[in-house]
């Protein structure tokens, strides 16, 4: 549907498209009264299949024209797209052929915008496709043109005096293939260079396209360089600023259910294998859920739908970002519902058993219809995510006047000119919805609306940017109308102002580069701004370069091993923990060298630092024979106190059973000249997690903690970890051997100021664990006493520093973060049940978590049945499976009878402030630090204002959880009393699978990345 003022009477009119009945045009007569003027206005009345519609002034005569996309040239569908030229007096003349826009094919929607900044509207025709995903084939197929399914681009020649659009698809840089299954299109200046870019949402396995306008009438598809992952079945999209930072964000829709039983019986994410196959075919990472791409302002986006809990709105179509309650924050409106839910797994497996090959074509069609009738249907209430600020959203549905419907296209406009935006929704087989916005009745929020108008030199204002300064705040919008799903919205721009009473000024960036500032705008009214004729202040746009880290000479190569092909139910890989770097002066030249240990099949390398700060690969030490080992942690220390740095390396990999030779740790003794000789001693053979040193008994020799990561083959079980005491001659004896958790990091620190080093341990499914050193080789677990009993997390790293300058060491823990599919609180923890439920000698780790208020199993039915085949009998169909709400319901076993139960109650990365007494005070790191997992932390405590520098992301969760890829790293700045002051992103490429950050020089850091290059960058103190 499209909304626009066709007769310039100040009231927006409405055009509805229909699939099997005629389209309709309604004239707004004020007071929310409309008149059907379809017939007298010259709109063609037939039952061809209309899809999208857009209102735009294509001939720059000041009147909105209407362009309708049609599905045609396929089976019995015969039609062309239609261009209704507005002749004034509410009369239109269909002129598609004359204008060269009579395309005939599988059209979805057209977006009119000015791609060459010449003041006339060019057009991108978005088409879908009828190919089936039978074969993913190579992504290279997107180079093959398709005449009815391929997207098209036409340049408007109006500015050259010709009333015609010319097909410039060839050479424009856009793909025009059958692979693109275009459902969504919208435009915005994504990279802020003054040229309008295009976002295309494609259904199925094809990537979404982000066409960056190159400024020379060509586009460059750049989705993978801007965005780490997208929605898979992208259906609707809108682009606008959701956090008032003046950068436009992208919100796109998919079909993940939020209702727990629909969720459990619907086809969801790809299996891990299929995801891998798609990747191999050249497709980017996609998940079957909504995505919220937060613009980081440096031509990259952080996807935060999981964190904002906006990721699941079921079968969703239109996404419209506007400030619906005029509180100064843009909200998100989403239409959803599906007449026929074809992804119901019971339907696929049990109801649809028909061999089509047995029937002739007409019988097949009949059968298809019958099958379609059998498909389950779902009516859903549309959703508003009310923006609460600070990236928090509240979900409103029925309480915001929404009722169950099969809603589809939608558009907004202040139809009654009362200052708030109303909504019109096109529904399937039911009357359309007109939703009058009543928020003005209950709130006193102010607003201001603008209408932008071009002048004779530059006629069409669509695409202009408007910045509003008021109340000490800035608000930013772009004038673009094609958005959501197959729809276009009002040309008027609305800003909600909340309680702001006065507008300081408004700045318009016209597409020709001129900038115009307007003062004296009236609030709570429509202000018309006409483009000035002066050409002063014409800006020249150019690409902004962003500081980016330099690649370091080391590249890590992870060996291919898929843990979950052995342990089907595990949520994360445990075989990709490296690389590990150890800075230490090995050759005694006073310069800190770096040892970097890698994955299996890759030899460790020792980099010797040179006087000029560069590094060379050490030739003295050849670690080639060490390639069977996967290095997961390492530490340099002087084992025998002979004045040189020795090296202890912890092996891991999770590939073999415990005690396999490839797990053996290694100790290298420095000969004093930088030659590291492996000590011929038998060390432990476990899947390592963390090693740390500390002289806990103050005898002058470093003692060790060896923390193990997992019992290979038994995800969730706690392996043995060890505290080892130095015997002062290069050997160690075991002081403690404890099963304490799946250890990822450890730290020795004196937490209670008794001059004895205590031990802090973190890992998966465990709290931040405090072992207090009681002297005489005795350690006592005082986690609870220190106030950490509720800190069960998926911790990756732990550090200590006195952040608040109170003379006590605080604990900083890097956790999985909030941008995570499973949610956890103390009241509703994620639970891991471990038992041999089917008595086959293998532990079965089964995870349950709270999914929108309901306890559900994490693993899919198919995965659970693979692990526990007997469950198939109990849960024959998905309907039955969808009722599971507890481990007892699933397995028949009571919680009390289950061998081991673990939990997660805290997902956030945290600081635990040490008050000097035992009870630590928990404070979460700022929201920017919760967008991804935090993998490693460096704390800069050179001054009283501390900085936490972290690296993040983890790309080795199962596909069901998805990549944690929203933040490669950041700096959190504190004031001298430990209050959060500011946040900056590190200048790292987006989406890195970071593992470690090392300070290698004053202000210079090295970041080690799994299966990728490593990077260095400098942080200048300011």
């Amino acid at each position: 549907m499209a909304i626009g003022d066709i007769n310039n009477d100040g009231l927006d009119d409405i055009y509805f498209t229909a699939n099997q009945t005629p389209d309709k045009l309604f004239l707004n007569q004020g007071g929310l009264k409309f008149k059907d003027i379809t017939k007298e206005s010259g709109i063609i009345i037939d039952s061809t299949w209309s899809s999208g519609v857009t209102m735009e002034d294509v001939n720059n005569d000041g009147l909105l024209d209407i362009y309708v996309s049609k599905v045609s040239n396929y089976k019995t569908f015969k039609a062309t797209n239609l261009l209704y030229i507005n002749k004034g007096n509410n009369v239109f003349e269909e002129s598609a052929e004359a204008y060269g826009l009579n395309f005939s094919g599988l059209a979805t929607q057209a977006a009119f915008f000015d791609y060459d900044n010449d003041g006339d509207m060019d057009v991108y025709l978005l088409n879908h496709s009828v190919h089936t995903p039978r074969s993913y084939g190579s992504s290279q197929r997107r180079q093959i043109k398709d005449s009815i399914a391929g997207d098209k681009f036409y340049e408007n020649k109006l500015n050259e005096g010709i009333s015609k659009f010319v097909d410039v698809t060839e050479g424009s840089g856009i793909f025009s293939s059958a692979l693109g299954y275009g459902l969504a299109i919208t435009t915005a200046d994504i990279n802020n260079d003054g040229f309008i870019d295009i976002y295309i949402g494609n259904d199925f396995h094809e990537n979404d396209y982000l066409y960056i306008n190159q400024g020379n009438k060509t586009f460059k598809e750049s989705i993978s360089s801007y965005i780490s992952h997208t929605s898979r079945f992208t259906m609707g999209v809108d682009i606008a600023d959701l956090n008032n930072d003046q950068y436009v964000d992208i919100f796109s829709l998919d079909m993940m259910p939020f209702n727990h039983d629909i969720f459990l019986k619907s086809g969801g994410e790809d299996t891990d294998k299929i995801a891998q196959i798609k990747k191999d075919y050249g497709f980017e990472t996609q998940y079957a859920r909504n995505t919220f791409q937060l613009n980081r302002g440096n031509n990259s986006f952080a996807e935060i739908a999981l964190m904002t809990e906006t990721y699941a709105t079921d079968w969703s179509w239109s996404s419209l970002i506007q400030d619906f309650d005029n509180d100064g924050l843009n909200d998100i409106y989403i239409t959803n519902g599906i007449l026929k839910r074809s992804n119901d797994l019971d339907y696929i497996n049990y109801l649809s058993n028909v061999d089509f090959s047995k029937y002739n074509q007409s019988q097949q069609n009949e059968l298809e219809l019958k099958l379609i009738e059998k498909m389950p249907t779902i009516k859903l209430s549309n959703i508003i995510y009310k923006n609460l600020g600070d990236l928090k959203f509240e979900k409103l549905t029925e309480n915001a006047g929404q009722s169950p419907s099969y809603s589809n296209g939608a558009a907004y406009s202040d139809l009654d000119n009362d200052g708030d935006l109303d909504l019109v929704v096109n529904t399937i087989n039911e009357p359309a919805l007109l939703l009058e916005n009543k928020s003005g009745d209950t709130s006193k929020n102010n607003f201001v609306a603008f209408s932008l108008q071009g002048n004779n030199d530059f006629k069409n204002a669509t695409g202009s940017k408007i910045k509003l300064f008021a109340g000490g705040k800035e608000f930013y919008k772009e004038l673009m109308v094609t958005k959501g799903f197959q729809s276009s919205s009002s040309h008027k721009i609305n800003f909600g102002l909340g309680n702001i009473q006065k507008i300081d000024s408004v700045t318009i960036n016209w597409l020709d580069g001129t900038v115009q500032t307007v003062k004296n705008n009236t609030i709570n009214a429509l202000n018309t701004i006409k483009k000035e004729t002066s050409t002063k202040d014409k800006r020249i746009f150019k690409e902004t370069k962003f500081a980016i880290a330099d690649p370091f000479m080391y590249t890590h190569i992870e060996n291919t091993f898929l843990d979950y092909e052995r342990e089907y139910l595990m949520p994360e890989k445990l075989s990709t923990e490296g690389p590990v770097g150890v800075p230490a002066d090995f050759n005694g030249d006073g310069l800190e060298d770096i040892y970097i240990g890698g994955a299996k099949n890759q030899a460790p390398i020792l980099y010797l630092k040179q006087q000029d700060g560069t590094y060379i690969e050490d030739s003295k030490n050849n670690f080639k024979q060490e390639i069977p080992y996967e290095d997961v942690d390492a530490i340099a220390f002087d084992v025998e106190n002979d004045g040189d740095m020795d090296l202890y390396i912890m092996s891991g990999g999770n590939e073999w059973a415990e005690q396999d030779a490839s797990y053996e740790d290694r100790l290298y003794i420095n000969d004093g000249n930088g030659k590291l000789n492996r000590l011929p001693a038998t060390l432990i053979k476990t899947n390592g997690g963390s090693i740390s040193t500390g002289d806990y008994n103050n005898d002058g020799y470093k003692d060790l903690f060896i923390g193990n990561r997992s019992v290979p083959g038994g995800y969730g079980l706690s392996p043995f970890s060890y505290i080892l005491k130095s015997n002062q001659k290069g050997s160690f004896s075991i002081v403690e051997k404890i099963r304490i958790g799946m250890i990822t990091d450890s730290h020795w620190a004196d937490l209670n100021n008794d001059k004895l080093l205590d031990l802090i341990l973190v890992g998966d499914w465990m709290p931040i664990t405090i072992l207090i050193n009681k002297g005489n080789d005795k350690f006592e677990n005082q986690t609870k006493a220190y106030g950490l009993a509720d800190s069960f997390g998926m911790w990756n790293t732990v550090s200590v520093a006195d952040i608040d300058n109170n003379g006590q060491l605080d604990i900083i823990g890097g956790n999985v973060g909030l941008n995570f599919k499973m949610k956890a609180t103390v009241e509703n923890p994620i639970k891991l049940y471990i038992d041999d439920f089917d008595k086959n000698g293998q532990p079965d780790p089964i995870i349950f978590y709270n999914f929108f208020g309901h306890n559900v199993p994490f693993a899919s039915k198919d995965k659970l049945i693979q692990q526990l085949p007997y469950l198939k009998k109990n849960f024959l169909d998905y309907n039955n499976f969808s009722k599971i709400n507890s481990i007892t319901y699933l397995t028949g076993k009571e919680e009390k009878d289950i061998m081991e139960i673990k939990k997660i109650t805290e997902l956030r990365s945290m600081i635990y402030f040490n008050p000097g007494t035992t009870n630590f005070k928990a404070v979460a790191l700022p929201i920017e630090a919760q967008m991804s997992s935090i993998e490693d932390i460096y704390i800069d405590d050179n001054s009283a204002s501390k900085k936490i520098i972290f690296v993040g992301n983890y790309l080795d969760y199962t596909v069901e959880l998805g990549n944690s890829d929203a933040n490669s790293g950041g700096i959190i700045n504190f004031d001298t009393t430990g209050n959060f002051k500011s946040f900056n992103y590190l200048p790292l490429p987006k989406g890195l699978n970071c593992r470690q950050i090392l300070k290698i020089n004053k202000d210079k850091f090295l970041v080690l990345v799994n299966n990728d290059k490593s990077y260095t960058f400098e942080i200048t103190n300011n």
């Binding site: 079945f233 196959i277 061999d355 089509f356 898929l562 693979q866």
Partner: protein
């Protein structure tokens, strides 16, 4: 249609009513005097002798296997154990006619003897069959429904309760015995063995369109064989080495699949479709996905066994014996074949053709989700044909109506071997196998079949 149903229902009620009246009269009279008309109802005896009783049970099992979607090797296991239980009871019923399986089949021990004289051995065989079937399939209620209906019909035909109960009891006992043995065949353990990790090199198997399913049963060779000493007893020769250079033997065979495997020749197309036997074929239309379910290759040979035993007018016990021989052969043949499949890990023609010859090429049949070499249908069809030939002779001509209910026509064969050869070559016409997998598969099936013929002797000479 509705009218007819109505009448039938009415007739049924009438019959029930009459029966009730009759029974009432007999009971009244019983204590005083025996009327001629109230003679014991012996119709059940005939019913219990009728091999159709076993045929129907087997058919029910096939239907449930199709509904529940079992892969071909797993289906062969689901067919085998219930059949062995029935055979064991038949052997106890006719010790003069049949040999015990103890000593002939790996780790198998004799079932307990029947002790209650009220046991009807045929009924016990049915009961044991259904009891084990129920354990191996998922949709238990479908077996329950069938069992209830079958027993009710027998009771209606006069089956006394004491015979029913005694037979059920013995059937349960045998089922327990067989299940205990079945439990140690490594099936349970192999459920959680590692999945196959895709190897990058082009000669190795990769998941295939449209669903890119995981490889089926990569550890099936770990399953305990019945008559073979091990999964690897009859290894076929290695496949031709992967070589795409023009004129290489591999390429020649690849191009043969490319040219013949899309069903352009109607005759070959018919053959390929007839023997498709893919238990789960998916169809994608936009977001919608439909699935078609069919019998497995093993299921097809169960159908042929039914045809042969019926045509030969086999008795109840002979029918069970035929199935016992065929299911044993199928079971071992699948293990032998799967052993080779997951050893050679050969890539499917569809994958190679799409990557190197023609990206758009689609085989006539949907490529099943496991490595190519050797052809399962070739191996198991031959092994089953050898078993049936031994029982019913060399030139046993028959009309194969097995696929009629799945919408395919009848095909006629001059012998079991004839049918098995057509099954083998159908995989080339279906575009899912190279010629070598068919030729070597047939050889492998022959070897497995002959070995079983020699080492599994059920009928006493």
């Amino acid at each position: 249609m509705i009218l007819k149903l109505f009448f039938n229902t009415k007739a049924f009620f009438l019959r029930r009513k009459e029966l009730k009246n009759l029974l009432f009269v007999c009971l009244m009279a019983g204590s005083v005097i025996t009327f001629n008309s109230c003679k014991e109802n012996n119709a059940y005896k005939e019913k219990l002798q009728n091999p159709e009783l076993f045929q129907n049970s087997m058919k029910k099992l096939t239907d449930v296997i199709v509904y529940d979607i079992f892969s071909p090797p797993v289906a062969s296991r689901v067919y085998m154990y219930p059949t062995i239980a029935s055979y064991a009871i038949m052997q106890k019923a006719h010790p003069e006619k049949y040999n015990s399986l103890e000593g002939q089949i790996n780790e198998y021990t004799n079932i307990p003897d029947p002790t209650d004289e009220n046991i009807n051995m045929n009924l016990a065989a049915i009961h044991a069959f259904l009891t084990i079937s129920r354990q191996l399939i998922f949709s238990e209620e479908k077996i329950n429904e069938f069992q209830d209906k079958t027993y009710a019909e027998l009771q209606e035909a006069g089956l006394p309760d004491n015979i029913l109960e005694a037979s059920k009891k013995y059937g349960d006992l045998v089922a327990q015995h067989i299940s205990k043995w079945a439990d140690t065949d490594m099936y349970k353990q192999t459920r959680t063995y590692p999945k196959y990790t895709i190897l990058d090199e082009p000669q190795y198997w990769k998941p295939t369109p449209p669903d890119y399913m995981d490889g089926i049963e990569p550890s099936w060779s770990k399953i305990r064989t019945l008559v073979l000493d091990s999964a690897g007893q009859f290894p076929p020769k290695p496949p031709l080495s992967y070589d795409l250079t023009e004129g290489s033997p591999f390429r020649t065979q690849l191009m043969q699949v490319y040219n013949e495997g899309t069903g352009t020749d109607q005759n070959k197309r018919d053959i390929a479709s007839f023997w498709d036997c893919n238990p789960y074929v998916s169809h994608h239309v936009g977001h919608a996905m439909f699935a078609t379910k069919k019998i497995t290759p093993g299921g097809h040979w169960m159908g042929i066994t039914a045809i042969a035993s019926k045509k030969s007018k086999s008795t109840f016990d002979e029918t069970v014996n035929a199935y016992a021989n065929v299911t044993t052969s199928l079971f071992d043949a699948f293990i032998s074949c799967w052993d080779e499949k997951w050893r050679s890990l050969l890539v499917r023609p569809e994958t190679v053709i799409n990557a190197n010859i023609d990206e758009e090429w689609i085989p006539l049949l949907q490529t099943p989700p496991f490595p190519e070499y050797t052809s399962g249908h070739s191996v198991i069809s031959r092994a089953a044909a050898v078993a049936l030939t031994r029982l019913y002779g060399d030139n046993f001509a028959f009309d194969d109506t097995t696929e009629v209910e799945y919408g395919l026509p009848v095909r006629s064969f001059t012998s079991f071997i004839h049918a098995s050869e057509e099954a083998a070559i159908s995989r080339l016409y279906g575009g899912i196998h190279y010629m070598m997998a068919i030729e070597e598969g047939v050889k492998q099936g022959e070897e497995v079949g002959q070995h079983i013929s020699k080492n599994l002797v059920t009928l006493k000479k």
